[in-house]
Structure formats: structure tokens, C-alpha cells
Point group: C2
DNA sequence: CGAGATATTAAGACTAGGTACTAATAGTAG
DNA sequence: CTACTATTAGTACCTAGTCTTAATATCTCG
């Protein structure tokens, strides 16, 4: 299992990158060298000790905390709902939702809010979007609050099709409109 | 600054929750008690030592890592592009993209892939989606790989409008089609 | 083959940030 | 005054290291 120094150091770097929670002792066993050699290697490669590595990972997590939310947040927050009739959600446009260049919200976030509201308004185990026709009537900018209003237009119980209309506004100004053809499943 | 035991322990819990990186010594100074008292407190409250707390935070980050990527990942990976002509991206459907109940991908992820590909294919500083007409031709399931192909249909230099057609496939089977009316800005 | 360089291992002293345990002291209630 | 709780102190030990010095092992080149 013995490799030369260079090879071992490369593997060491990779191993630690992949799993920063590994101790020198574990590494020394893995590479069949002494603990001291591992320590010399880390010194040469400027890889900090286990506890520092863990700390670093932990600190990074705090930085990223804001970024780990939007997956749920992306769809906005439902503030009112009357199943099979209407629903309203709000979505605050933050830094991660906009193009950096011009601070305009990416279309798929607007769509996501509207689409998930259309899914939510349907009074059934689950609904899938079959078709949609959408229009972005004015760009939405950073820090604006988008209010999406969904309204069920028609329900066809036989085909399982439901048409939901969603209109989104920023300060009473329309920014998005869409018609979603939903398929309900029971 | 001296409080009674209960009060101090409550504050201790809060302090550590807020900043897990604080040592017993720092805490003992903050509450004007001995280090031993802090340790007794932690014992009673079953709060682990600093290094364990840091480790825990670090481990949690690893759990969340999958969840913090999708903001960028959501749009899929572009594998081929010919500006103002065609573009192809792949998107692997993972756990966080599907409805838990039936493992079917949420529509807005499919839309996001298609829409961002439509944005990317346009050879300009930036493009915005004005309108879109989309259709989900078959549900996409967990672990499926979606290949989206965008094709620019028409470019109107005067109005700044560009129409992009996107078709998505899983194993050569069409799952999504959409027509995006894009507005380009210079 | 042997000298010198490079690589590896070992050993010892010290560190932070603890645990676990024992013991002493302070303060307070009945 | 006694009993009890709360607090403090001190010791031994732990992990996962650092830093330093020193002894071997192995490799390379002339």
C-alpha cells in the first residue's frame, strides 16, 4: 500500500477535502505511515488540524445559512386559501433570486410561486401541472414583495382537469399572469 | 451582575444557542462565576462541550449541503451551446425536486431548467422572459435525467423579441415542451 | 560502494478545552 | 445550629493536536 511522498500527499489532500472529520491517526493507518509523517505532510501542505478544520466547516455553515432556506421559501408563503376557489401567497425577492447584473428577478422564481400556488389551491391529494401559459408583464426587482393570487376557473371532474388563473402584483401593479392547466390525481 | 442559578442557566442556554463557539472560560467571565460552575450548569442542562458543539454544527452543514446547492443547480448544467442558435442542458432530478407523495418532479423545476436555458442561449448581455407557453407531456420521476434542448426560432432585432423553443426529454421520451418569448436588453 | 540528501519515525515537553471525581466553603432555610 | 444547596477549588486524565530535537531508513548520484 506504500506510495511515494508526492502521491501520498495528493491522496491526503483529497481524503481530507472529502472528509474533513478524519484524524491524523486514521490517516496514518490508511496510508501505512506513522502519525508523525502525516503531521509533516499536513505541515507541508498547510492543512490545519482536525479541530480547526471542523471549526471552519461549522463557521462556513453559518455563512451559508441564508442560502439554504430558499428552496422552501422559493414558493412563497401562503397567507390565505380557500380550496378549489382562491389562494394568495407572498414572495419577497431577495438577492439570490435576481440576476446580479440588473437586479431583476429570474423568471423561474416568479413561475415557481405561481405554479406552487396553483398546486396548493387544488383540493386533492395531489395535482400536476399539465400546461401553462404565462406572461411577465413587468420586471420584478430586488426587495420587491410579490403577491400572487390564484383563482380556480373551471373544474372538470370527468377529465380531472382544472384551470387555475394566477395573477401576481407588486404594489397593485401586475407583474405576472398565468393560466395553469392542472391535472388532479386521486 | 449576579443572578440566581435558574436565571443564569436560562441565559446560558440562550447564549450557547446563539453562539455555540463560546468557551466555558468566556462564559464564566460573562456570568461572573467560576469555570466549574459553568461546567456544572452544562452538565445539568446536558449541553455538550465546545468542541462537540462545533462538530455538531459542522455535521449539520454537511447534511444541508445537498439542500444549499439547488439554487444554482436548479437550472441544470449546460453541456452544449451555440449562441442565438441552440443549447442543451442536463438536469438530474433528486429528492429535493419531487413531491414526497408520488416522487414526481415539481413543475417549477422543469420550468426553471427550460427557462434558464432559454435565457442562456441568447447572445446578449441579458434576456428576460416576456411570455411563455408550456406543456408537461409526461411526469418526470425521481432520479431521472432530463435533457433540455433549446432552439432559437426567430429574432426580431427591432422589437428586441426572440422566440425560443425548448423541448425536454427523458430517455428520448418528451416530457416537456415550451415556447419562450424573450426580450433582450442591451 | 559510499556519502549526502531526503524521508520517515520516535520521543518529549507543552497546549486547549475539556471530563470525572473529591473536597472544601458559603449562604440560606427551617 | 443543622441540613441542604450552590459554588469554588484542585487533581488526575483525555484527545488531538503543536513544536522541537534526534535517530534511523531509503534513495540517489558520482
Amino acid at each position: 500500500m506504500k506510495r511515494n511522498k508526492k502521491e501520498r500527499q495528493q491522496l491526503l489532500t483529497d481524503t481530507i477535502k472529502e472528509n474533513p472529520f478524519v484524524t491524523d491517526e486514521e490517516l496514518s493507518e490508511k496510508f501505512s505511515v506513522s502519525v508523525q509523517t502525516i503531521r509533516l505532510d499536513r505541515l507541508e501542505l498547510s492543512i490545519p488540524e482536525l479541530r480547526e478544520r471542523i471549526k471552519h466547516v461549522a463557521e462556513k455553515r453559518f455563512e451559508n445559512e441564508v442560502r439554504s432556506l430558499p428552496i422552501e421559501e422559493i414558493i412563497g408563503e401562503i397567507i390565505d386559501i380557500e380550496l378549489d376557489k382562491t389562494a394568495i401567497s407572498i414572495f419577497d425577492v431577495k438577492g439570490e433570486h435576481v440576476f446580479k447584473r440588473n437586479q431583476i428577478a429570474r423568471g423561474h422564481h416568479m413561475f415557481a410561486q405561481a405554479n406552487s400556488l396553483a398546486v396548493a389551491v387544488i383540493n386533492d391529494e395531489l395535482a400536476l401541472t399539465a400546461k401553462a401559459s404565462i406572461q411577465f408583464t413587468r420586471p420584478v426587482k430586488l426587495n420587491e414583495r410579490v403577491i400572487a393570487k390564484a383563482r380556480v376557473l373551471t373544474i372538470d371532474n370527468e377529465s380531472g382537469r382544472t384551470i387555475v388563473e394566477v395573477n401576481s402584483f407588486v404594489n397593485n401593479e401586475q407583474v405576472f399572469k398565468g393560466e395553469f392547466d392542472m391535472f388532479r390525481k386521486k
